[in-house]
Amino acid sequence: MRGRVPRRGVRAADGVRAYGLIVGMWVRSTMAYRLSFAMTAFGNLAATAFDFVAILLMFSHVEALGGWSLPEVAFLYGTTSTAFGLADLVLGSVDRLGRRVRDGTLDVLLVRPVPVLAQVAADRFALRRLGRVVQGLLVLGYALATVEVQWTPGRVAAVPLMVLCGGALFAAVFVAGAAFQFFAQDAAEVQNAFTYGGNTLLQYPPSIFAKDLVRGVTFVVPLAFVNWVPAMYVLGRQSPIGLPAWCALLPPFVAAAALAAAGLAWRAGLRAYRSTGS
């Protein structure tokens, strides 16, 4: 029979292709005004860099923060900022989903022959968000150059892996947050609390927070696997909530599980929208 539902792999490839096409169009249109792009990207870099300036100011008064030195905190900051910046660059637009549901423009995306998530994510792709990624990478570079660590091949390999898995974890939070907006259209702020808020939290060492908060960020919304947990391995530290050392190997699995859960949440949200119309 001709009318078969395409397999999941085909749909995913379709989605990536559509995402690429739409993003390409936005990038071309952004690049029509190069100076404006350069200025907004720099502005994005500068604005996000203030977070690190705040940390620098703190360290002008103290030697260590919760037992962590400046290069170590810079390592946390650099890994989470880069990871978050990548997720925000690729998927940041999904937080407009609630508005699309409210004003009905989501319907327009539903009558196109490409997956809705790809269209929502690619809509108004903002290349200026590269500013945050660059800023994160600069701080990470500074951290790697100054931190006192016995570099082994495993530790070296762990750093890019941390950034990638961290990006995937934040991506899962973005998608899950967007899925939640199918049910609560004003929930963009709740989503921001987890994405932007989570990023800010992870810029500081876990030892300065209450243990219950650290547990929540580990077991409930597993953002601790972006940097706190794998940093135990890279920096040779103990977990403040007593996680065993092998947990530092978990981020790829946690990220995969989080992405799968977010994907299911998205599908549930879209299905609910299509049966209720709001």
């Binding site: 749909r11 319907d107 327009v108 049966s275």
Partner: protein, 320 residues
């Protein structure tokens, strides 16, 4: 050969609406937006799908495009179940929402078209031919480099219609395509749709409040009210069913007593101006001739009944 391209069979759509009742308590109640609608459209037909606001028109169109899943009943468009295979259906239908843009708001019209070309995987030659045709017939050449948000409503609507046709859809849904347009733009859009249907055999389903749209385009109307089909047939029959009336507004030289003409009802008199209602199915010409013979006529105009009035009368007639 003509085949059924749209099949709607006993389709229902029930929404659970939550309403606030008191401080915390919420009441749930069910709304039947579409309540057992059935009709079929054969390929090459132009059908007007009409009804008052909230009658269930948009909900039906959403089920026909796969946006909404029906609560019960069966829908097939081009042989496809829209809710199960939404993306496959999307390649074979074109949709124009009068109130919402399907174009990328901040991009020039040409970029939107390029994107549609790639997203729908339209073969290059087909795309070029379709774009050329639309640009020519809808006069889009001066608009192609303009960002969509800077277009006037009429310009945007022409752009939207072109966007919905670049991938050669078999079925075109138009939701209020002439709403808010000036007379010239309306005429252009209607002319284009008529040609499209005649030359390409594209099936068109049109929702509108504009009776002229229907008179000029649709061979058939399906009227829906309170989620049910209340009429399905030719437009002329609708007028009969609704016993609808047209209005002749005449300005006489001076004040007269209400004119007495067979088959004419004087609705209102205001100084030298009189409003005369007569059955919509009747021609106005002999009436005007008779009036001009008997009265000093200064000016006149004929007003068509609007869809709401026709349907309202139909209901009044039925319950009486």
């Amino acid at each position: 050969m003509r085949v059924d391209v749209i099949e709607v069979d006993a389709v229902e759509k029930v929404f659970d609406v939550r309403r606030r009742a008191g401080r915390l308590r919420r009441e749930r109640h069910r709304v039947r937006a579409v309540d057992g609608v059935s009709f079929t459209v054969r390929s090459g037909e132009v059908v007007g799908y009409i009804g008052p606001n909230g009658a269930g028109k948009s909900t039906t169109v959403k089920m026909l495009t796969g946006i909404l899943t029906p609560s019960a009943g069966r829908v097939r468009v081009a042989g496809i179940d829209p809710s199960r295979e939404r993306t496959r259906l999307a390649r074979r239908i074109g949709v124009v929402f009068g109130q919402r843009s399907t174009l990328w708001w901040d991009l020039p019209l040409r970029d939107s078209y390029r994107l549609i070309h790639r997203l729908y995987r339209v073969p290059d030659a087909v795309f070029r031919a379709n774009l050329e045709r639309c640009v020519e017939l809808l006069d889009l050449a001066p608009l192609l480099e303009v960002p969509v948000r800077q277009l006037s409503l009429g310009q945007r609507m022409r752009g939207e219609i072109a966007a919905a046709l670049l991938h050669d859809p078999e079925v075109l849904y138009l939701d209020e395509p002439t709403i808010g347009l000036d007379v010239v733009s309306k005429a252009r859009v209607r002319g284009f749709l008529r040609d499209l249907n005649e030359e390409r055999g594209t099936t068109v389903l049109l929702t509108t409040h504009d009776l002229t749209d229907i008179e000029q385009l649709c061979g058939r109307v399906v009227v829906i009210d309170h989620g049910r089909v209340v009429y399905d047939g030719a437009l002329g029959g609708l007028h009969e069913a609704g016993e609808s009336e047209r209005m002749l507004v005449v300005d006489l030289e001076r004040e007269f007593a209400p004119v007495g003409l067979a088959g004419v009802r004087v609705v209102r008199v205001e100084g030298p101006r009189q409003w005369l209602a007569f059955p919509a199915a009747r021609s106005a010409a002999p009436l005007v001739a008779e009036l001009a013979r008997r009265y000093p006529l200064v000016d006149l105009s004929v007003r068509e009944p609007d869809i709401e009035a026709v349907i309202a009368r139909m209901y009044a007639g039925r319950s009486a």
